[in-house]
């Protein structure tokens, strides 16, 4: 899960840092505002806690051991913003003290484990837990599922980041400059390891850790900030932007056209005829600003694709921001029972 230096291009690392730095700044400001001076020792302690959780070798059902990340547990108990900071600091320790995860790749690792994981864990936990009581079986199950899905999503992100390298960064003779495996190898490899080994480890740590805290009444004095996800549209929008930015190069790597998105001509070639309705309505709107993710003239297709991706991502992130801002105005929700 921790990507070392040398596997990713400097361009990929730069994108990771460009997402990680503002996200850390936003999360830091939110937590500081929320708990004032108490945030400093609290977050420092959580960072040390997060680092130590990664040292726990956990026996998993297949007889081997694996270690968890722990950011899902922190996100569920303390809120996603606290989890972002704690995990980002823990990753800094790992990169500098243990050489686990690169320094240039630090931003990418933060995106995967400190941003994506807490956000996914918070959303999944909220969806599954609903309004159940703290410490109930449903809550504990929700925490375990959230941990499992969160690490799975992070593993997919790592698979994509590594898998796009050979297609985007190679020499003229085809020598891969960084990770040499394509998406067809990296995605199954990451998913297999995390579906069967790291996923169960994260689920156990998150579910059992949450269960212990609830059972021993330790959650009573803790004010989780998970409900503040609604209060921070900026953080969620940044997360959405991060996912879209990471997925954008897939369009350049992918071969052929997307299933079900054929132009009338392409469909006509496959079927032998163009359906009448499609022929009638496909030309209904012809004023697209970036038709087929490119300029109308057809010039500079790669640059046009990136511009299309940027515009599209900003629009989606903007809508996310607006929707969360509206939801926040309507009804503050508490996740504590």
């Amino acid at each position: 899960m921790h990507v070392p230096d040398g596997y990713l291009s400097p361009e990929t690392c730069a994108v990771g840092l460009a997402i990680a730095i503002p996200a850390i700044a936003v999360a830091s400001r939110q937590v500081m505002r929320q708990v004032k001076g108490r945030a400093v020792p609290k977050l420092a302690m959580l960072s040390a806690f997060s680092f130590l959780i990664m040292m726990f070798n956990l026996p998993i059902p297949d007889g081997t051991t694996a270690h968890a990340v722990g950011s899902a547990l922190i996100a569920i108990v303390m809120g996603p913003a606290a989890a972002v900071i704690a995990t980002a600091v823990a990753l800094l320790f790992q990169a500098l003290i243990f050489g686990d995860g690169g320094v240039l790749a630090y931003g990418v690792n933060v995106v995967n484990m400190a941003i994506l994981m807490p956000l996914v864990a918070t959303v999944v936990n909220r969806l599954v837990a609903g309004n159940s009581a703290a410490g109930s079986v449903r809550r504990i199950t929700a925490a375990a599922i959230a941990g499992y899905v969160a690490i799975l999503s992070a593993s997919i992100a790592v698979g994509v980041e590594l898998g796009i390298q050979p297609a985007l960064f190679h020499t003229a003779d085809g020598t891969a400059l960084f990770n040499p495996y394509g998406l067809t190898a990296t995605l199954p490899a990451m998913l297999f390891a995390h579906l069967l080994i790291a996923g169960p480890a994260e689920a156990i740590i998150t579910g059992a850790g949450y269960g212990f805290l609830a059972r021993t009444g330790q959650l009573d004095g803790i004010e989780p900030t998970s409900d503040k996800l609604r209060g921070n549209p900026g953080l969620v929008s940044l997360g959405v932007l991060a996912v879209l930015a990471l997925a954008t190069p897939l369009g350049l790597v992918a071969q052929g056209t997307a299933f079900g998105e054929w132009a009338p001509d392409e469909l006509g070639e496959q079927l032998g005829a163009i359906p009448a309705g499609l022929e009638q309505w496909s030309s209904f709107w012809t004023h697209s600003v970036l038709p087929d993710y490119g300029f109308a003239s057809g010039d500079a297709p790669v640059a046009a694709y990136w511009i299309s991706a940027l515009v599209g991502s900003l629009i989606v992130a903007g809508f996310t921001y607006g929707a969360l801002w509206l939801a926040n105005r309507r009804k503050p929700v508490s996740t504590t029972a």
């Binding site: 500081m32 001076g37 400093v40 026996p59 108990v77 243990f98 050489g99 240039l104 003779d173 891969a176």
Partner: protein, 292 residues
């Protein structure tokens, strides 16, 4: 004089032999890692500790970027050897062995399939046989890519080892702040490093206590329940400590406002060191462009 045990003490205890139980492999692994962490945390910085940490940090980042931009495996290997020799000279040889060797071995093994024509098609330079009626062997592009990634990983890790093993964490975080890292983030990283020792000791005690209490191992379910409880207990301990530290900070007048320490003045030796490293990195990059 010999002492004989009473019969009741010499008799084997009923119920100790527990089938379906297995030794605490995860306990041994976790304990080993925590003890390694505590040993690293207590290591004094090696030579080069007198050089300005800002210069070291900035030059290390520039060198890492230079390595990432290089395409020639021979020059990268030369760079890796230079940095490794420098690390050993700086007294970071043991850390190199502990960090660089395992990661390099894993990288070499993981990247090995990519040297074959099955993964990276190309001109086969070493035939291995055939599969599905097609010749299979090691390709020139695959081998070059393998060498390139391995050399880059070794060189990059060696740079990080030199930086971190010759600079105390406090000076390193101060350097991070000086290059624009957010004040809150740097303060949290500084404090968290101090707490690592305290929490790490608590974790080691917890694991040792469990190991001492266990006879004949435990079932997987028991082990998992223990880990869940331990993580929860560690979380509680973290929270309690955080509250105590906050009270202590408040008692000393902390209001939540973060003040940066006054940066030390750069000496000519720091500047000369920085310039030399940057010149070497630029030289390597230039050479890389020439031989490309």
């Amino acid at each position: 004089m010999t002492t004989t045990l009473p019969d009741w003490l010499a008799a084997p205890t009923v119920g100790v032999d527990a089938p379906q139980r297995r030794p605490h492999r995860f306990l041994r692994k976790s304990l080993g890692q925590v003890e390694r962490l505590l040993a690293i945390l207590s290591e004094p910085p090696g030579r080069l500790a007198d050089f300005d940490p800002r210069v070291k940090l900035i030059t290390a980042l520039l060198v890492l970027v230079a390595f990432a931009l290089m395409h020639d495996p021979r020059l990268l290997s030369v760079a890796a050897v230079m940095v490794v020799v420098g690390a050993v000279a700086a007294g970071a040889g043991r850390a190199l062995l502990g960090i660089v060797v395992p990661v390099s071995v894993v990288t070499a093994v993981v990247m090995l399939p990519a040297t074959t024509s099955l993964v990276r098609p190309g001109t086969i330079v070493l035939p291995l046989g055939s599969w599905a009626e097609q010749a299979v062997g090691l390709t020139a592009t695959g081998l070059t890519g393998w060498w390139l990634v391995l050399a880059r990983v070794v060189a990059s890790l060696a740079v990080v080892v030199v930086l971190t093993r010759t600079t105390s964490w406090l000076r390193l975080t101060a350097a991070l702040r000086s290059i624009g890292a957010p004040a809150g983030f740097v303060l949290i990283a500084t404090m968290a490093h101090r707490y690592l020792w305290v929490l790490g000791r608590s974790l080691a005690d917890l694991l040792q206590a469990r190991r001492a209490r266990s006879i004949g191992g435990a079932t997987g379910g028991e082990d998992r329940a223990f880990v869940g409880g331990s993580v929860g207990a560690l979380f509680v301990r973290s929270n309690e400590l955080a509250d105590q530290v906050h009270q202590a900070m408040t008692a000393r007048g902390f209001t939540g406002r973060l003040v940066d320490p006054t940066p030390a003045r750069l000496r000519w030796t720091d500047v000369a060191w920085g310039c030399a490293v940057v010149a070497a990195a630029v030289g390597l990059l230039w050479g890389d462009v020439v031989v490309r």
